[in-house]
């Protein structure tokens, strides 16, 4: 048999195929980043805490979630759809109503004198509340705060909160704090 060199395999498309695989894995792995709602826990309450912090009734908006995931806003049965507007009305108090929170004048760099709301949203949940409902409530409250921050940023700096500089954001964060207080968990309903 005559000596014949074997023809080389055309492997140039191999690189294309593996590039395709590579980009696929790169994309799927980067999509999988974790996201979430961030919160800051308060430091533990001292044991001998007998003095009650005196907060005026008009400065508190109580949101309660029971073990059947039903909501109570300030003693009235409410729906989660209304929570965001209720929270915004409460924290913003645009018409300076008597029954909505007081405001305190604070000097904030970049914003000047700003009337910071003294309002606190008190969130109380039962041990039997589902985590899903709790997150939905936290989400609505966060949405209320975020929308207010965005509005303030737009009126003062002419850009959205997400596009504002770090200093501007800090100023806005001071003007509109995340005023959500979570009650010490209570054991209601007997079974743990």
């Amino acid at each position: 048999m005559a000596k014949r060199s074997t023809p080389g395999l055309n492997t140039s498309s191999m690189a294309d195929i593996s590039f395709l695989l590579l980009t696929f894995f790169l994309m799927t792995s980067s999509i999988n980043t974790d996201m979430g709602i961030s919160r800051k826990l308060p430091p533990p309450a001292p044991e001998d805490n007998n003095e009650k912090i005196d907060i005026h009734k008009r400065n508190i908006f109580v949101v309660k979630i029971n073990s059947h995931d039903a909501l109570l806003f300030d003693g009235e049965i409410g729906d989660i759809k209304d929570l965001k507007t209720r929270a915004k009305d409460f924290l913003g108090n645009p018409n300076n109503l008597e029954n909505l929170p007081e405001k305190k004048e604070v000097d904030i760099p970049m914003l000047g004198k700003y009337m910071v709301s003294k309002g606190v949203i008190s969130l109380q949940n039962d041990r039997g509340t589902s985590y899903d409902m709790y997150i939905q409530v936290q989400n609505e409250l966060t949405a209320a705060v975020n929308e207010m921050r965005d509005e303030l940023s737009y009126s003062r700096f002419g850009k959205h909160y997400a596009d504002a500089s770090t200093d501007q954001r800090d100023a806005i964060n001071k003007a509109i704090p995340v005023a959500i207080s979570e009650a010490e968990p209570t054991k209601i309903g007997g079974n743990k």
Binding site: M14, A15, S29, M35, L41, S130, D132, I135, Q138, N139
Partner: protein, 153 residues
């Protein structure tokens, strides 16, 4: 010049692409391995709740995870929601050690920025989550993230 005259005019020789695929495959395997290694395997079933106002976790190396959900092996760990720390089922009382070891694993400059992510199934009751939160408060881990997935507004 005659010295530089081409010997034959059969076009440019093709580049040898044989090693290209090897290099790309190496990259591919690298990414495949990395992506599977990053997630510690879950032994509890977790379907996180959905939310619209989500933030991305900034520095992943500074976040420690507490997983809560129904165990995947009910015959071993029961059917009630349990807490998973690292790769094992744990109790609420183990969180103190967990927080301490996470702190020890980071350099001192990073410690104030450590945060804890609670990755809980949406059907978990708040009782378990409250217990975890109380335990974290006691141990000074105040930065908390509730892991959720993004939902369209």
């Amino acid at each position: 010049m005659a010295r530089f005259k081409k010997k034959n005019d059969k076009g440019t020789p093709g580049l040898n692409m044989g090693s290209m695929s090897d290099i790309i495959f190496m990259l591919l395997f690298f990414f495949m391995v990395i992506t599977t290694m990053r997630e510690s395997s879950l032994i509890v079933k977790i379907q996180v709740p959905q939310a619209t106002e989500v933030q991305k976790l900034e520095k992943k190396s500074l976040v420690s995870y507490i997983n809560v959900g129904v165990p995947l092996e009910p015959e071993k760990y029961g059917t009630e929601p349990r807490i998973q720390l690292n790769d094992a089922i744990a109790e609420v009382s183990d969180i103190a050690n967990f927080v301490e070891s996470e702190r020890a694993a980071h350099v001192e400059a990073d410690r104030p920025f450590l945060s804890t992510a609670i990755k809980a199934d949406k059907n978990v009751k708040m009782g378990t989550v409250s217990d975890i939160k109380q335990e974290l408060r006691k141990n000074g881990a105040f930065k908390l993230i509730y892991t959720t997935s993004r939902r369209a507004k």
